[in-house]
Amino acid sequence: MCCSNGDFCLSKIKQKQTITLKELYSLNSFWSLKRSWKTKILDYFLLVVLTVEGLIISKFVEINIYLSLALAGTFWGLIKLYFFLRFLYRFYNSLKIHGIECSEIKSLSTTVSIVFLNHRSSNLLIISGFLYSSKTQKEVFEPIIVDWQEEYFEALFKKEIWKARWINVRYTYAFLAAMWQKSPIGDLIEFISKLAK
């Protein structure tokens, strides 16, 4: 589905136009069109696997073939539901992290407004928020995320997809490097290297 890569964004909200969560969701799907064929194949593959599994089980266990197929279908539906709920959870979490209220989205009216939510970076921010103090979070990790999103979406607007991907890789590394530096082990190693000098 559209949330396969975890990135989603709102784009180009025209003057006096409001945007609802539903529209936001559809914009996200739009951005992920390129990947949809992969997820479709995976979906069908999963369905085929479950059906075959159901047929095999019905051969060995005393169970009605239709019942086994219905079970396989239900299982498939549950997996889809899980992924959908996971997407919703991440989506709302991301909104929370970026300080965006639902009412704000509905009442947004600008000439050309660009609101971006980068999911991968939001996840990293959740992890760092759990591990480090709020001061470090504010002074070290949040600025990295801001720079990350700025460079990433600038590349996306220029339709430089590969550059955007490279920026994702580079900033993931930068974020992890910052986490390492702020960790007690990183501090200790720096202290030892200073002593060695």
Binding site: I100, E104, V115, T136, V140, P143, I144, E151, A174, F175
Partner: protein, 109 residues
Amino acid sequence: MNDSKNNEFPKLSRKEFTVLGMLIGRGEMFGLEMVEASQGELKRGTIYVTLQRMGDKGYIESREEPRLMPEIGIPRRKYWATGLGERVYQTNVKAHEFFNSDFAWGVVN
């Protein structure tokens, strides 16, 4: 402030020296601007750790730059050098100059 006056000489690391040099020369800057201006000397992953440490030492200060209405998200942070930072930088520049001068090597006639 008095501590830095009375105790040991406030040495700057290379990164700190570069950051202070830029902030004194150009005024207020964002972190990413500093990374781009340093031409590879400052890295995206370490700049903010360095800036935080410098802030703790009192060499720089920062504030959150509020976003204008079309933009929504985490506010960007702008940095500038404090008086102490400027003094420490100038002291380090003088120390470098002295170290590289002939006088320091006893060549002066």
